[in-house]
Amino acid sequence: MDTVKAQQWLIGIFSILLIVALIIVAGVEMKKSRSFKPEIEIDDMSAKCITCHEKKGIAVKQIDAWKESKHAVSGTGCYECHEAAKDDFDAFTCTGSDILIGRHPTPKDCAKCHEQQVAEFADSKHAHQFWLLKNADRAVFENPIATRHGCEQCHNIGNIWPDGSVGECDVCHAKHSFSKSVARQPETCGECHMGPDHPQIEIYLESKHGNIFKAKSAHWDMNYTSKQGEPIPLEVPVCTTCHMEANETQPLTHNVSARLAWESQMTWSFRTVWNEEELGNWQKKRERMEAICSSCHAPDFYKTYLLTADLVNLQYNEIRRQFVYWTKKLTKNGKISRLEVNGKFYSDPVLNGWDEDPEHLMYYGWHHEGRRFRMGAEMMGADFTQWHGIWEVQEDLMEVIKWAAEHGDTEAKKIAESKHPAKFITYALYDMPGNAWGIPTKTNTTPFVYNNYPDYWDRVYKNVEAAYQRGLLSDEQWQIWLDRYENKEYYLGNKFSNSPVVDSTFNVYKKRNEYDLKKMKEQVIDLVLPGKSFFKGRKF
C-alpha cells in the first residue's frame, strides 16, 4: 500500500470516481421552489386607468387580479372590455378623466374575442329564462328584498342585458383574473348548485369522485387548457369535466346542456328537447356524456349506472302522478283553493301552492325532495337518493293522503286505514334486476314486493317496456334491461343466496345479530328503574 505504484493506482481510481461523480452532478436537476410570474406589457390606455385607480385606491385588488390573468399577458387591458359608445346603457365618463367607459362588460363584450364560448353559453340552459317564464311569483311568499340577493344573484347567470346579450361570464370566471382553476373548482358551481332544492355540490362531495378530489387535489394544477383529443388531466372529474370539458373524443363546450339527457329539475322528469335541432335528441346528448364516462370507466359499468338513474327518474314521475291526482281532486272538491286576485291566480295546485298542506307537501315532493331523489341517483349521491330523496317524497305523499282522509275523502280514508303494506305503493313500479355495484346474494331475498307478488317482474317488465316504447329509454338500454331481466336470478343474486358458502358467511352475522338483540334486551330494554315518573300522581 505504501509504494508509489499503489498510490498511482489510487490516483487513477479516484480520478475515475470523481469523473463519474462530476457527470452525475452535471445531470442532476434541482426542484424549483418558486416560479416567476410573466412580465406584462401594460399598454398606455390601461396604464392610465391603473395609475389613477391606484392613486385613488379604487378597486385596486381588481387590478392585481387582472395582472395575474392571461388577459394581462396577451394584451387585453382595461379598455378592451370596458370600452363604451356614448349611448351604451352602461356608459359613463370615468371620474377625473374624459374616458367613456362601460360599467358592465356584458357577454357581448366578451364575445369580441370569445365568440364561440358566448354563443355556446347562450345556447345552454344556464341562459334559459325558465324562472321568469313559468315562475312562482316569489314576492307572494318571500320578500322582494330577499330575492335581490337570493334568486336574482344566482339567476344573474342568465341575465338578459339591455344590449340584448344574455349571460354573466364572471359568475364562473371570477373577475378580473378570469382564472380557469377558479372556474373549474367544484365550489364555483356550488355557489348556486347547493342547498335543499338542488344540492349538486353536496351530492358531488358525497360521491367517490368528490371524495377523491378533496383528498388529493391540493397540489393538482387546475389551470390546464382542456383540448379535444387529449386525455382528461385529472384523476377524478370535477363538475366541469363531465358537463363541459374535452376529452379524447369530445370538444370543450360552454353549453352545459349538450350532455344532459333529462329535465330532472322539472316537475316531471322528461327527456330533454332543448335545442334538438342543433344538439340532437336526448340520446345524442347521452352519447356525449357517455363518451366522457368512457375516459375512465368501462361501458358495462356506466351504462348500467345511468340506466338505473334513468329508472329512478321514471319512478319519480309515478309518485308525482299521485301528488297531482290528489291535489287536483282536492281542488276539484273544494278542499283546497288557489290564491287569486282580480281573476289572476298566484298559486297552482300542481306547481306552487303554499297555503294548504297538500299543496305545500307536493311542492316539497317536487322542488326539494323530488329533485334530490333524482339528482342523487344521477351523480352518485346515495344518501340524497335515499334519505334526503325517496324517503321524504314518500312521507310527503302519505301526509297528503292522510290530510285528504282527515278532510273526508273516502278513497284516501281507505288507504290511510288500510293494514296492507301496499298502502304505500299506490302507483306502478319500475325496477331493474340488480345494480351497477356488484352481485348481491342476500339483499333481494327480503323485499315484500318480490315475495308477495309472483307477477312482480311481469308488471315491471310491462312498465319498462311501455317507457321504452314511449322513447324514454333507448334501444340499447332496453336490451341491457332485457339481458338483466332474462338473467334476473343471477343479477338479483338469488341464484347464490342459498349456497353453503354464502350461508356460512351470512350465519356468522346472523348469530352476532341475535346476540346483539339479546344483549340489548338484557342491558336496557328490561331495565326498570325504581324511581317513579314525575308526571304520575300529579294533581291536575
Binding site: 505504501d2 508509489v4 498510490q7 498511482q8 489510487l10 490516483i11 479516484f14 480520478s15 470516481l17 470523481l18 461523480a21 462530476l22 452525475i24 452532478v25 452535471a26 442532476v28 434541482m30 426542484k31 424549483k32 421552489s33 418558486r34
Partner: protein, 348 residues
Amino acid sequence: MKFKEWLLERFPIDYEKFVEFNEKIFIKEPIPTHMKKWLFVMGATPLIIFGFQVLTGLFLTFYFMPSPEMAYESIRHITEDVRMGYWIRGLHRWGANLMIISLLLHMTRVFFTHAYRKPRELNWIIGVILFFLTMTISFTGYSLTYNQLSYWATTVGTNMIKEVPLIGDLMLFFLRGGDVVNTNTLTRFYTLHVMILPGIIFFFIFLHIVILRLHGVSIPEGFEEKYYSFYPHHFYKIIIATLFLLTLMSTLTVVLPPGIGIPADPSVTPTHIKPEWYFFPTYRFLKMVSLHVGIYATAAFVLVFTFWPFIEPLLSKEKRKQTIFSRTAGVLTLIITLILTIWETIVI
C-alpha cells in the same frame, strides 16, 4: 530556452538558487516514515478543504447578494436556477462540515500522540486558534443563508457575546451593527466571512505551517526516525486526498443537496431552533446551566484547552504521569463532547 532567458532578464532571480530552494523546501522535504500511514493525513485535509472553500466561496460571491431582501432569494437562485449552482453550494456547505470534522480528528490525533509538547506548544495554540476561527467562519457563513433557522441561530448566537465581561455589549453592537440583527449584520457577517476571517485564517495557517516546517513533523512514540522525500510519495498522497475529498463532497451534495429552508422572518421564531451540529455540545451545555455559569465554564474550558501544553508540565514532573493526566483529560473531554452532541441530536 529563449523565453526563459527573456523572462530572467526581466525578472532577475537567481534561477539556480531558486531550483535549489524548491528542491530543498518542497521536493526533498523530509517526511518521517510514519506519515505513510493514512491516519496521519488529517493535518493536510483541513488545508485542502480550506483551498476548496476559498475557491467555491469565491464562486458563490458571483451570485450571492448580502441584503435581507436578496440573500435568501439569491441563495435560492444559486441552488435552483444557476447551472451547477447547487453543486458549488453543496461543496461549500459540505466542505465546511468536513473541515470541522477533519480538524476535530486532527486535534484528537495531535493530542493523543502528544505532538503539542515542548517545543511545539505555540503551534498547538495556533492550531486551537485556527479551530475557533473555523467555527466562527462557519457561523458567519451559516448566517448568510438568511433562512428562518440561520436567522434565529444568528440572533441567539450573537446574543451570547453580550456575556463577555466588560466589552461584551460593545462587541455585540459591533457585530450586529445595531441593536438587533438587521441589514448591517448581514453585510458585516459577509465581510467577516469572505474577507476578514479568511485573511486571518490564512495568516495563521501560514504560521502553523512555518512552525511545523521549522520543527519538522513530530515523530510519535514507537516510530523510528527515518525520512523520505516529499516528492513523489507524499505529493501523490495529497492528490489522492484531494480527489477523494472532491468525490466525497460531490457525492454528498447529490445525495443530500443543500436546502434553502424557509425565508427568514424576524417576527416569528421557529418552534425548534438548533445551531449547526458542531455547536451542539456548547448549546446543550448552555441549556443545562445558567447563562453566566455556562459562558464562564465554556471560557474556562477553552482557556485550559488552549494552554494545555503549558498546563500539563505543571501537573507533574514525570512524563509518565503527564501522559496519564492527558489521556484521562482527553478521553473525558471526548466522551462528554460526544454525549452532549448525541443528546442534543436526539432531543427535540
